[in-house]
């Protein structure tokens, strides 16, 4: 776990940290709301996923990219991308298994609310894909220039292993 002081471009600012501490939970909740509530109001998985990713990026800007990366350590983004794609496909194939067409929500025979829940699950899957891709992209882009010397050495510039 590298200390934030080693980041060349990160400057610890009480104002930014306090602001983000207040704003980030609301941004995150709003992202989830846009994702869940896309069926009734403006929004949907794509927009909600972007807002959720933006909330994570807010944290990264306020508390340092390396600290946020350490906090998100693990296959979280990768798992979100895979789970989102899998959820979408499974919902589509489940309709086929229930003697319907691909993604025909009526085939689940749950009535109109069933159709709506199917659509909302699909939106959630899209949100997981989008937020996972954006967060992964951000931390990949920000890698190198923002991290400690030890970290970039460990990664290896000349390492050719796949």
């Amino acid at each position: 776990m590298s200390s934030a002081d080693q980041n060349r471009t990160y400057v610890e600012s009480t104002i930014i940290m306090t602001t983000v501490r207040v704003v980030a939970p609301f941004a995150f909740t709003f992202g989830l709301f846009v994702m869940f509530h896309g069926a009734e109001s403006a929004g949907g998985g794509f927009q909600g996923g972007v807002i959720v990713a933006a909330a994570v990026l807010l944290l990264a800007f306020a508390f340092g990219i390396e600290s946020t990366r350490a906090w998100l350590e693990g296959p979280l983004a990768r798992a979100a991308i895979a789970a989102g794609g899998a959820a979408f496909t499974v919902i589509g194939l489940g309709a086929v298994a229930a003697n319907g067409a691909f993604l025909e929500y009526e085939a689940y025979n749950l009535g109109k609310t069933g159709v709506k829940y199917g659509i909302e699950l699909v939106e959630l899957g899209i949100g997981a894909i989008v937020s996972g891709v954006l967060v992964g992209l951000f931390f990949s882009l920000a890698r190198g220039d923002f991290e400690s010397v030890n970290g970039s050495d460990a990664d290896g510039q000349g390492g050719e292993q796949p």
Binding site: S41, G43, G44, Y105, K112, I119, I126, I129, G132
Partner: protein
């Protein structure tokens, strides 16, 4: 009708000014901030045109995420020095842009007025079908979501696949296996 035209004029003038600023500002950081302001102006324009879904996308992607990605990118590159605030104007490029803008402006006259009830989109049978049946058939109040996730669900699955494939490809190219 006139009120929305006036509001649109203000917002689009703001967007135009910020776009010009983003083009001519010499410091990339200033240009990025001007570009974010441009996206915000366009998002408000979408909102005025009663397209909240598009406005939300424009605000989140254009003004939000893209700005952050640009910031991260310039942090890894060199910013041009010098005292000047603006780039020198390349008149040949301005001429090319002026010709393109002129060609596009000739099409504006054939667009329907803002909010016109007899515009082809509003009178199309497909529009009527979706607006009339979306709630009964899907139970979803937002017709845009109904079209995206139900009527055109297969297309959306394709789009999601494109996002997954593009994201994974870029992440693999950047060789950051640990955080893919």
């Amino acid at each position: 009708m006139t009120a929305i035209t006036a509001e649109l004029t203000v917002v689009l003038t703001f967007a135009l000014l910020t776009a010009v600023a983003a083009t001519f500002l010499r410091d990339v950081l200033n240009a990025i901030i001007a570009f974010a302001a441009f996206s915000f102006g366009i998002a408000v324009a979408w909102l005025l045109l009663a397209a909240p879904d598009v406005a939300l996308t424009e605000a989140a992607v254009g003004a939000g995420i893209t700005t952050v990605f640009f910031l991260v990118t310039i942090a890894k590159t060199v910013r041009p020095g010098g005292e000047r605030l603006f780039e020198p104007i390349a008149w040949r490029s301005v001429a090319v842009v002026a010709v393109l803008v002129g060609a596009l402006l000739t099409t504006v006259r054939s667009l329907p007025a803002v909010g016109a009830v007899n515009s082809p989109v509003a009178t199309s049978r497909i529009t009527e079908y979706y607006l009339g049946n979306a709630y009964d058939q899907t139970g979803v109040e937002n017709a845009v979501t109904a079209v995206l996730a139900a009527y055109r669900g297969f297309d959306t699955l394709g789009e999601a696949t494109v996002v997954i494939a593009a994201g994974l490809a870029v992440l693999l190219v950047l060789r950051q296996e640990a955080y893919v």
